[in-house]
Amino acid sequence: MDYRVKYISIYEYEADVILNENTLKIVPYDGDNQLLVKYEVNTVPKGYMTSYRDIFNNIVFKVKITEPHRRLEISSESVVKVDNRVIKTDYEFPYNYGFNEFLLPTKLVDPEPFQQIAKELVKGLKTLGEVIEAVVKFVTSKISYKPGVTNINTTAIEAFKLGYGVCQDYTHVTLAMLRALGIPARYVMGVVNDNPRATHAWVEVLTPDGTFLDVDPTRKRLYNLGYIKFAIGRDFSDTSPIVGYFVSSGKGGLKELKIEVKKL
């Protein structure tokens, strides 16, 4: 399936901003089940822009704006082909993946405190598919969707204890549970394909074949979600769509976010 994806975020400031530097991950990921056909990133006002691929192969833009401004528009427009994956879930569990970077503790996801609960939960389960379903069911039963309770720095264990959160927290807790069980899984940031209002987060689970299974704990959906992923990483901090800082005597911040996904 081909999609045209537009991402526009508008920032407004009370006083002149003399320096605004941002790191952007706002174009679809190019790889795995996605093929990025074309992409373009712009800002108004214009700045010094450069791009690179990070250690996860995410496409990253850096922009530095030195022209004084009170309004900043950051936008991208891309065309991406998203393929369905062949889904196989009857891999033997447990399985030894060896040393894997997606098993390590991260800033926001420490699997350690989930060890016990995770082990209890999967007693008697024999396949990777069963484990994934059990974990997603468990996470959605423990966390209720409620915006404003958690923030971008909330860790998996904090969200778990609160019992509330948004997609980022569902994803973190799911990652923590899977990693506690020795299953490498990564954080995915992107957009859904049905009227997205903001970016979304979900999970990709590594299979013993080296492929990934996509899982959305927030919406309780499994496999071939059809979403468009922008970036992957260890946790939210690797995938933040826009992160930066500005120098100004006044305050300011995000005023509006518009995302458009159109099937071609």
């Binding site: 010094y48 691929r53 250690i55 922009v63 030195t66 040393f99 970077e101 800033k107």
Partner: protein, 440 residues
């Protein structure tokens, strides 16, 4: 002579084993216990004369160890050729990235250092020189020099080598008896390179400091006085249409040709200066953006880059150093942490450096969380020296910092001594400064 040992390591002690020291030992012995008092006096005098550095609380005297470290001329020459070649490689790398817009090492390494300057892309600095000043940290292992780090942003310390040399000569002149010691040079090379890039015969050069709270403010004053540079703070720099001027007390606004900057943050402290530079109104040294070659992840690639640029790097060894974003490397370090020194990519002055073998610091937790920001280097059992501390002689670890002014290496070399028992020799970690004599 009684020398106290504070580590159990059996390192090669240069002072005791290198025959060139035998005369110095004799000279020290003839001072007897008086040497301790002289060392104390030298330190007091240095403090009174303002030879200080600023820490978060107050000005502290820069502690001096008046016993010189000896460096045979042939070794100095060898290191010096190496550093000139290495600086060529570093400068060439920076040029390739900004001017030729190509990335000879992983792009993300270059572009994720906080010192990457997108504005520099497509710009050619005067005379093609980015790295006017280059500070290299070198240690000796059984006499052989090993390079540990390249400092290319705003390397500091040359004033310390002048001052340590001076105080040692002043308070214990007899130590030099029987030695032929090379005169100190270095600052004149700095002046030469700044003049060269200015494109004029008699340029106005400003040393830009962020002020007296900078830990190296002593040095800023020292260099500007010695070379007749105008010492200015960001608020003294005015960007006009077509030129940059400095507001001086005696002569009002004076046109500036070159700014030898000792501050990193140009955007915030001197808005508009970067634009003026890019338009060719003024020259900056070092060029903005040299920090990409200062990043410790870049260090890993230098031998490869030397090959790429057809430069032979001989005479100094680069120890085994690797990036931790590669899975096999990360696994190795997590399994055998005591074999490595872990360094944070953008750390400086000993900040973000851990020798797990010595300190038992558990940095591994942090490493695991952001392994792409760390490198690992083999632990070197580098040579020790002897220092005066209080009323005793101690065996200490010391490095050598060399200052290269584009294509000339200063004979003013600094040896930084780690605090007792520590191999971390950077000044911000405490420790002493020691004079270095290059002997014929």
């Amino acid at each position: 002579m009684k020398i106290r040992k504070v580590t159990k390591d059996k390192a090669y002690n240069e002072f005791l084993n290198d025959p060139s020291y035998s005369l110095l030992i004799k000279n020290l012995e003839s001072y007897g216990n008086k040497i301790f008092n002289l060392n104390r006096k030298a330190n007091l005098q240095a403090f009174m004369e303002g030879f200080t550095f600023y820490t978060s609380l107050s000005y502290r005297g820069t502690p001096i160890d008046i016993i010189p470290r000896l460096l045979p001329l042939h070794l100095f020459s060898k290191i010096s050729s190496y550093l000139i070649a290495r600086n060529y490689v570093l400068n060439r790398l920076i040029k390739e990235v900004y001017e030729e817009k190509s990335a000879p090492l992983p792009d993300w390494i270059l572009k994720t250092t906080p010192y990457f300057r997108p504005e520099m892309i497509g710009f050619t600095p005067p005379k093609g020189i980015y790295t006017h000043v280059y500070g290299a940290d070198i240690v000796r292992v059984n006499g052989t020099p090993f390079i540990l780090e390249d400092n290319l942003r705003i390397p500091s310390g040359i004033s310390y080598s002048y001052k340590a040399f001076e105080y040692s000569m002043r308070f214990a002149p007899d130590l030099a008896e029987g030695y032929k010691i090379l005169n100190l040079s270095g600052l004149e090379y700095l002046y030469d390179i700044l003049r060269y890039v200015s494109g004029t015969k008699d340029p106005v050069i400003v040393l830009l400091t962020d002020g007296c709270y900078n830990s190296a403010y002593f040095e800023h004053r020292f260099i500007s006085e010695k070379l007749g540079l105008i010492l200015a703070e960001p608020s003294d720099i005015i960007i006009k249409d077509g030129e940059v001027v400095v507001d001086t007390v005696d002569e009002g606004e004076v046109h500036v040709d070159v700014i030898y900057r000792r501050i990193e943050d140009l955007d915030y402290l001197t808005p508009g200066l970067m634009k003026a530079y890019l338009r060719g109104w003024v020259t900056l040294a070092n060029a903005p953006g040299t920090g990409i070659a200062d990043d410790k992840a870049t260090f890993v690639w230098i031998p490869y880059l030397a090959e790429r640029y057809n430069v032979k790097l001989d005479g100094v060894i680069q120890p085994l150093t690797f990036c931790l974003y590669e899975k096999e490397n990360l696994e190795k370090v997590l399994n055998y942490p005591t074999r490595f020194v872990i360094k944070k990519r953008e750390g400086y002055g000993g900040i973000g450096l851990s020798i797990i073998k010595d300190d038992q610091i558990n940095v591994l937790k942090e490493v695991v969380r952001e392994y792409e920001n760390f490198i690992a280097q083999e632990v070197l059992d580098f040579d020790t020296v002897v220092s005066v501390v209080g009323d005793s002689y101690y065996e200490t670890y010391a490095d050598l910092r060399f200052f290269t002014y584009y294509d000339k290496v200063a004979t003013a070399v600094l040896s930084r001594v780690g605090i007792l028992g520590s191999r971390v020799t950077n000044n911000s970690s405490g420790g002493l400064v020691k004079p270095v004599w290059i002997i014929e």
